[in-house]
C-alpha cells in the first residue's frame, strides 16, 4: 500500500482549514472560494488516488513492462501543441501545422503505450 493519498487529502484539508480561518475576518467570497475550492480539488485528487491505489494490479504484473528509452512521438506532440498555441498569434498556417503535428504525435504516443501494455 503506497498511502500517497493521505498526503494529498491531508494537505487539501490543511488548505480548506486555512480558508476557513477567513470566516473570522469578514471574508470576501472570491478569496474564500479560490482557496477553499483549491483545497477541495486537492482532497478530491487524494480520494481519486485512494481509489486508484485500491484498484492497482498486483506488483508482479506491473513490473512486466518494457522500459523505452526514447519517444519521438512525445516530442512531436509537445512541438505540435507549442506551434498550435503560437498559431493564435502568428496565424492559421502555424495553427494548422501545430494541430497536424500534435495529432501525429498523439497517435504515436497511443501506439507506444498500447505496445507496452500488450
Amino acid at each position: 500500500m503506497r498511502r500517497g493519498w493521505i498526503v494529498l487529502a491531508g494537505w487539501g484539508a490543511l488548505i480548506v482549514a486555512s480558508a476557513a480561518v477567513q470566516v473570522i475576518f469578514s471574508p470576501r467570497a472570491v478569496e474564500l472560494a479560490m482557496l477553499g475550492g483549491s483545497g477541495a480539488i486537492v482532497i478530491a485528487a487524494g480520494l481519486a488516488a485512494l481509489i486508484s491505489e485500491r484498484r492497482r494490479r498486483p506488483r508482479g504484473m506491473r513490473e512486466r513492462e518494457v522500459l523505452r528509452w526514447t519517444s519521438a512521438s512525445t516530442v512531436a506532440l509537445a512541438v505540435g501543441i507549442s506551434l498550435f498555441v503560437l498559431g493564435w498569434e502568428v496565424g492559421a498556417w502555424c495553427l494548422g501545422i501545430g494541430a497536424g503535428l500534435a495529432a501525429v504525435g498523439l497517435f504515436g504516443v497511443v501506439r507506444e503505450v498500447r505496445a507496452e501494455r500488450s
Binding site: 498511502r3 491531508g10 486555512s18 472570491v30 488516488a49 522500459l67 528509452w69
Partner: protein, 529 residues
C-alpha cells in the same frame, strides 16, 4: 521481470530520451542557459542605474529589460532549476527505477523549452519583447498600452513554459507518492523528497491558474474588456498572485531540501527533528504559502487585510522550525567544510535577511510605506537570489559527482562563493536604504537624491556576481575536461541515491539496500561498522 531496449546514441538521447535523468540534465542545462541571458539583462539594467543620466539604453528598452529579466529568472530559471533537481533526484531518493509518466515529463521539457524560446523571440520583433512587467499586469499589458507582437509572444511563452513545468511537477509528485521502493514509507522519505512534495502540492492548483490567466489575457488583447473597468485590473492581480506567491516557495523549498541533505551529509548526522521538518516545511509552510497571496495587494484596499497579515506572519513559525532543524543538524556534528556545506550555510544567512525583510511586506502598516519601492526589490532578491541561488549551488556541488561521476573543483568553488557572497550583498543591501530614501521600482533614470553612491555600489556588486558565475562556468569546464573521478558514495550521504553508481544506470539501481529509516545509507554504514 523487465526488458530494456538498447540505449540510443547521444544526439538522439539529447532530444527524445524519456529517462528522467536525461530530461533533468537538459532542463538544468536550458535553465542555466536562460540564467546567463537573464544575468546579462540584469547587468544592462545595473549599468543604466550606476549614475544618473547615463542613458546606456532607452527608456523603452529599460522597460523591456526589467520585464524580461524578471520573467526569465522566474519562469525560465529558478522554477525549472528547482524542478530539474526534483526530476533527477526524487526517483533515486525513493528507490524508483524511473519517474512516473516519463513521456509526460519529456513533453513538459519541450513545452518549457519552446515556451522560453517563444518568450525570448520577442526581442526580434519590431516593437521589442514584452514590457508590461514580469506579472504582465493589466491594463498595462493590454493592446493599446503595449502594442506589438512581443507582448503576445511573452504571453504565449509564459503559458507554454508554465504548462511544461506543471507537467514535470506532477510527474515528480506522483513518483514520490506512488513509486517508492519496498520499505520506503511516507515517513522514511528523505527531506529533499518531502520538500519536493511540498513544492509540487502547491503547483497542483497555482500553476493552472496562471495558464488560464495567460489565455484570458491573450483573449483580452484580441477582443477586449475582460480586465477593463475599476475592478478588472484588480481581478487580474488577484488571479495572478494566487499563482505568484506560491511560486516564490516553489523556487525556495527544493533548495531548503537540498541544503538539509548537504547539512546531514557533511555533519555526519541524520537531519535533526525530521518529523517537525516534514510537518512544518513540507506541509504547514506549503499550506501557508498558498494562503498569503493577498499581501501583494494590501495597498489596493480590495483584500481581506487582517487574514492575509495573519497568514503571512504565520510563515515565521514554519520558517523558524525549518531553521531550528537545519542548525540542530549541524550542532555537534563532525563538520567537513566542503563547498556544498559552505554554500548551504551562506544560504541560511542570506535567506534570513530575505525572510526578515519580508516582515515589511507582510505587515499592512509597513507595506503601505514600502510598497513599490526598492525595499521590495531588495527583499525579493535576498530571498530568490541570495537565498535560492546559493541553495541551488549547494545542491549542485553536492550532487554533481552523482550526475557526472566527477567532482567539481573545491578551490574554484570557494573562490566563486567568496566573490558571489560579496557581490550579492553589495548589490542588494543598498536597495533597502535606496527604498527608504524614496527610490521607486522600474525607473530607468533618476536625479541624484542621495541615491547615486548606493546605486554605484549596487552596480559594482552586480558585476562581481557575474564574475562569480564566470568562475563557476570555468569550474564546470575544468571539472568535466580533467575529471577527478567520484565513486558511488563520495560524501557518505544519507539517502538512497548514494547506493547506486555515479552516474546511475538507466534503470537507476542494480540492488537496493533495506530501507528502515529516512537515512538508509547511514543505517547501512553503521550496520557494517
Amino acid at each position: 521481470m523487465s526488458a530494456t531496449l538498447p540505449a540510443p546514441a547521444p544526439l538522439v538521447d539529447s532530444l527524445i530520451s524519456v529517462d528522467h535523468k536525461s530530461i533533468a540534465r537538459r532542463l538544468l542545462a536550458f535553465s542555466l542557459l536562460f540564467f546567463l541571458g537573464g544575468g546579462v539583462m540584469a547587468l544592462l539594467m545595473r549599468t543604466e542605474l550606476a549614475e544618473p543620466g547615463l542613458q546606456v539604453v532607452s527608456t523603452e528598452t529599460y522597460n523591456a529589460l526589467f520585464t524580461m529579466h524578471g520573467s526569465t529568472m522566474i519562469y525560465l530559471v529558478i522554477t525549472p532549476l528547482a524542478l530539474a533537481l526534483g526530476l533527477y533526484m526524487v526517483p533515486l531518493q525513493v528507490g524508483a527505477k524511473s519517474v512516473a509518466w516519463p513521456r509526460v515529463a519529456l513533453a513538459g521539457l519541450w513545452l518549457f523549452v519552446l515556451g522560453g524560446i517563444i518568450m525570448q523571440s520577442g526581442w526580434l520583433t519590431v516593437g521589442g519583447p514584452g514590457r508590461a512587467t514580469w506579472i504582465g499586469v493589466a491594463p498595462l499589458s493590454e493592446l493599446q498600452r503595449t502594442p506589438g507582437s512581443g507582448q503576445d509572444f511573452w504571453i504565449v511563452g509564459v503559458l507554454l513554459a508554465t504548462l511544461g513545468e506543471w507537467l514535470i511537477g506532477m510527474c515528480v509528485l506522483t513518483t514520490a507518492l506512488r513509486r517508492r521502493a519496498p520499505g520506503m514509507t511516507l515517513m522514511r522519505m528523505p527531506p529533499f523528497t518531502w520538500t519536493m512534495i511540498g513544492t509540487t502540492l502547491m503547483m497542483i492548483f497555482a500553476f493552472p491558474v496562471l495558464i488560464v490567466l495567460m489565455a484570458l489575457l491573450f483573449y483580452d488583447r484580441r477582443h477586449c474588456c475582460l480586465f477593463d473597468g475599476a475592478q478588472g485590473p484588480l481581478t487580474y492581480q488577484e488571479l495572478f498572485w494566487f499563482y505568484g506567491h506560491p511560486v516564490v516557495y516553489v523556487m525556495f523549498f527544493p533548495f531548503v531540501g537540498a541544503v538539509a541533505e548537504v547539512f546531514s551529509a557533511f555533519s555526519g548526522r541524520r537531519l535533526f527533528g525530521y518529523t517537525f521538518f516534514v510537518a512544518s516545511t513540507a506541509l504547514l509552510f506549503a499550506a501557508l504559502s498558498s494562503s498569503v497571496w493577498g499581501h501583494h495587494m494590501f495597498t489596493s484596499g480590495r483584500v481581506n487585510t487582517k487574514y492575509f497579515a495573519l497568514t503571512s506572519h504565520g510563515i515565521i513559525l514554519a520558517a523558524g522550525l525549518e531553521y531550528f532543524d537545519l542548525i540542530g543538524t549541524l550542532w555537534r556534528g563532525r563538520l567537513r567544510m566542503n563547498v556544498a556545506l559552505l554554500f548551504g550555510i551562506v544560504f541560511l544567512l542570506q535567506f534570513l535577511i530575505g525572510g526578515l525583510s519580508g516582515i515589511w511586506v507582510a505587515s499592512p502598516t509597513l507595506d503601505f510605506n514600502a510598497n513599490n519601492s526598492y525595499v521590495v526589490v531588495g527583499h525579493f532578491h535576498y530571498t530568490l537570489f541570495a537565498g535560492s541561488v546559493f541553495g541551488a549551488f549547494a545542491g549542485i556541488f553536492y550532487w554533481f559527482p552523482k550526475w557526472t561521476g566527477a567532482f567539481l573543483r573545491e578551490g574554484l568553488g570557494k573562490l566563486q562563493l567568496a566573490i558571489m557572497f560579496v557581490g550579492t550583498n553589495m548589490t542588494f543591501a543598498p536597495m533597502f536604504p535606496l527604498g527608504e530614501r524614496g527610490m521607486t521600482r522600474r525607473i530607468a533614470n533618476y536625479s541624484d537624491h542621495g541615491w547615486e553612491t548606493l546605486n554605484t555600489i549596487a552596480t559594482i556588486g552586480s558585476y562581481l556576481i557575474a564574475l562569480g558565475v564566470l568562475v563557476f562556468l570555468i569550474n564546470l569546464y575544468v571539472s568535466l575536461r580533467r575529471r577527478r573521478v567520484a565513486g558511488p558514495d563520495p560524501w557518505e550521504g544519507p539517502s538512497l541515491e548514494w547506493a547506486t553508481t555515479s552516474p546511475p544506470p538507466p534503470h537507476n539501481f542494480d540492488v537496493l539496500p533495506p530501507v528502515r529509516s529516512f537515512a538508509p545509507m547511514m543505517d547501512a554504514r553503521e550496520a557494517a561498522s
